[in-house]
Symmetry: C2
Subunit: 351 residues, 2 copies
């Protein structure tokens, strides 16, 4: 008998995400764990279905970022135990295949996405496939450390995604890095380039003064208003020919065009968001300038331990992207606020 006692957010149509009682998650495979969620988040990529740009089916569960307490584990789970507080990356992976061992867990041969199988992360509890490969434990006492829980929730997706973007664009020890987009991922890319990867100049591009102020706090050395019609020419001039490492963190045609235009010949552009709104990149410009374009879903799992260490040592403060906290029951307000660009990112208290 299935008992509907936990609450979870359920998609009912564009603009309509509701919290409902759902059946308790249960172990299915010996490699599964059940996690009772403490914190979850709303992602910029959740707005694709919220806005009806990608088609979801009413009844689908939402959410792919969460931190929680392991409640139960399958017989084959070795690395986490009931009571552990854990971070889940935004995809589950087996941890043992050749892609996982190479640090490309998003290409795991057993990759599993939250939301599939009625198993979303904006909920009170979730079934975690491949618990050993997927979950990263937090230090003892984390459950009572609100600041750490918030940072940890930022390590599920946005911080690793920004970090992956900066790293694969070539930000390590770069003379100049540019990040197009002042959303949570763009801000995290700035933070990574400036605080972790040793870039000398970090250019943040956006059009929200508060967000660009946070970009400065995250380490940006320069900010540009993306509405400036001459922004590309100005950045190319200010960098003596272009930026060698560019992160495109918006996912629109306009931002892709800007990212490619400011890229230095021989440089790289990494786009870190699902390219649902990019019609086509300027291939002639890539060709003419020998610029690499990398589409880059972040293998978050590969980075979480290191990023957690940086959080614990105070080097990065990714939770600063959360500027609205809500209980799970009020998730609808959170979606509306993100859709209206009134908030950068929403932290949900689910416990």
């Amino acid at each position: 008998m299935v008992v509907a006692v936990v609450k979870a957010a359920v998609y009912h149509g564009p603009g309509d995400v509701r919290v409902e009682r759902v059946p308790d998650p249960v172990l299915r495979e010996p490699t599964d764990a059940i996690v009772r969620i403490l914190r979850a988040a709303i992602c910029g990529s959740d707005l694709w279905f919220y806005r009806g740009i990608v088609q979801w089916t009413p009844g689908d569960r939402t959410g792919h970022e969460f931190v929680g307490v392991v409640e139960e584990v399958g017989a084959e789970v070795r690395t986490v135990r009931p009571g552990d507080v854990v971070i889940a990356p935004f995809v589950a992976s087996d941890g043992t295949c050749s892609f996982c061992r190479a640090g490309l867990q998003t290409s795991c041969v057993n990759v599993s996405f939250w939301g599939d199988d009625a198993n979303g992360g904006q909920a009170e509890a979730v079934r975690v496939p491949w618990a050993d490969g997927t979950l990263v434990p937090l230090p003892a006492g984390a459950a009572d450390d609100a600041a750490l829980l918030a940072h940890a929730t930022a390590l599920c997706d946005v911080m690793p995604t920004g970090h992956h973007g900066a790293l694969t664009a070539g930000a390590r020890n770069a003379e100049v890095v540019a990040v197009v987009g002042d959303g949570a991922v763009g801000l995290c890319a700035v933070h990574s380039a400036a605080r972790l990867l040793g870039a000398r100049r970090v250019i943040a591009i956006g059009h929200n003064p508060q967000r660009l102020e946070l970009a400065r706090a995250f380490g940006a050395t320069e900010t540009y208003d993306s509405h400036d019609p001459e922004i590309a020419e100005r950045i190319v001039a200010e960098t003596s020919g272009g930026v060698p490492a560019v992160v495109e963190a918006v996912g629109s045609q306009q931002s892709m065009d800007l990212a490619i235009r400011i890229a230095r010949p021989g440089g790289a552009v990494t786009f870190v968001g699902v390219p649902n709104a990019v019609d086509r990149p300027d291939l002639r410009e890539l060709f003419r300038k020998n610029v690499s374009l990398r589409g880059a879903v972040a293998p978050a799992r590969a980075y979480i331990e290191d990023l957690l260490a940086h959080v614990l040592e105070g080097r990065i403060e990714p939770a600063r992207v959360f500027d609205l906290e809500l209980p799970l029951d009020r998730i609808g307000e959170g979606y509306a606020a993100m859709d209206g660009r009134r908030t950068i990112k929403v932290l949900l208290h689910t416990g």
Copy 2:
């Protein structure tokens, strides 16, 4: 008084390239040289204007591949002298700017393209801007060595372009490399990957048995028929998940799609041709697989000395791509043969 004594190929419209008497080229800048051409070639990229896909103006001069004898040099030219036999890469570059010093001569701040200023390379003589930065001398006696002249003409564009594609896609010491396209550039990419870059397996993809045979001679270990509807699935299966280094050497939407589909997660696709016929690459697939797409006009000048050394040591035989030789006067036959895919590449005798 301008004397029209040299012959040059002139574009008159789609399908119509004629050899005519034109004014002698003359020195304009102290950094120029005048080169009397011995050999020239017709490039696959010349077919874009020949087929009317890119718009040219009647009267434009054609050709960007040539080898010849220096006839006259400007006052500031230091590295070549009259009488030297030289190779010209397919763009001229100053050799001193930061991009040239970084080996990205196609992004030279003074880059100059053959064909501009009534100065094409399918001709008896040409003005070479930035002679010191542009020209590479051949060994003494080269003018009388027909085999060397043919190899050298392949070093103007196709061999460096194939090499650049293979190199930037990551072919060096790669377990597997795939080259989509059996044209001259694709064949040269195979040759580079197999003979120069140490790739263990080199997959050549095309649909012309004779060309695939040449690919084998150039070092391909496997060949695939591009008309096979299951080619992508087969290659992914035969490579346990995809090819880490892929060169796209056709420039069509279909070949770009195939290149991206067979790329291994975490790998790279370099496209080495002008992407005039590519509507859009599959950005979602790049994103999902973390594949880099590099548009890559080859900085041929960066590679010519090394490639020439490999030719002289017998390691590569790039002139085997020339399967039709014609005097300049019969260039029309050469264009028609390439347009009809009856020949891989045409070598023109201009001297």
